[in-house]
Amino acid sequence: MTINVQYFARLREDLGRDGDQVAATEGIDTVADLWRHLHREAPPPRLMVAVNQSHARLDSAIADGDEVAFFPPVTGG
């Protein structure tokens, strides 16, 4: 199983890809762990996150099979 990572809007463009697939490994317990594992740096300010299509926080726990999305502040409406 893997963790399915998605990026949206400006973040997607800055990273140059729509998402990443990450094998669930030891040391990836939270959303912040996942970000650091993928990007080798702390999550940027104002980063928003969803786990399984619900708003979450950087310290939210993640598990094998989760869908995790990172995106900038929303601007709809």
């Binding site: 708003h55 929303v74 601007t75 709809g76």
Partner: protein, 145 residues
């Protein structure tokens, strides 16, 4: 509850009227409706067009959650929410929030609350196309603008 995403232009007043056909209008003394449209200016710059990105799946879930929470806070209300996605021209409708209730304060308060929560919680992102052909992401939904 009704939540809809449109990838093509839609007429908000037709959506409202259509929804009312199925409602007991003799019980619903008040309807409060907000329609947001794309302006051809923002932050003192001329805007030619816009792309509205969303998160398929989560966007619908978030809108449904926001409406469900309003219906639980104001149990008497009936709601219809519609939002445009994709490529958008100036004057196109971006968002429709319609709330019906027996009483006007519930309709008005719920309509305002749903719109504010949608603007801060629903996953939509605006990318504007300026008159010189360049594009920029809108970074903030400032209050009340």
């Amino acid at each position: 509850m009704g939540v809809r995403l449109f990838s093509e232009p839609f007429d908000p007043w037709s959506v409202v009227r259509e929804r009312e056909r199925g409602l007991p209008m003799e019980k619903l003394g008040a309807a409060s409706v907000f329609v947001g449209r794309m302006r051809d200016f923002n932050a003192a710059q001329e805007i030619r067009g816009m792309f509205l990105e969303h998160y398929p799946g989560m966007t619908e879930r978030e809108l449904e959650r926001i409406v469900a929470e309003a219906e639980s806070r104001w149990p008497s209300i009936t709601c219809e929410v519609a939002h445009r996605v994709g490529s958008i021209d100036p004057a196109d409708t971006l968002v429709l929030v319609a709330v019906w209730s027996a009483h006007r304060v519930a309709a008005r308060d719920a309509c305002a609350e749903i719109l504010e929560r949608l603007k801060h919680e629903a996953p939509f992102w605006k990318r504007e196309r300026l008159s010189d052909g360049s594009e920029r992401w809108v970074e903030n939904n400032t209050p009340g603008t």
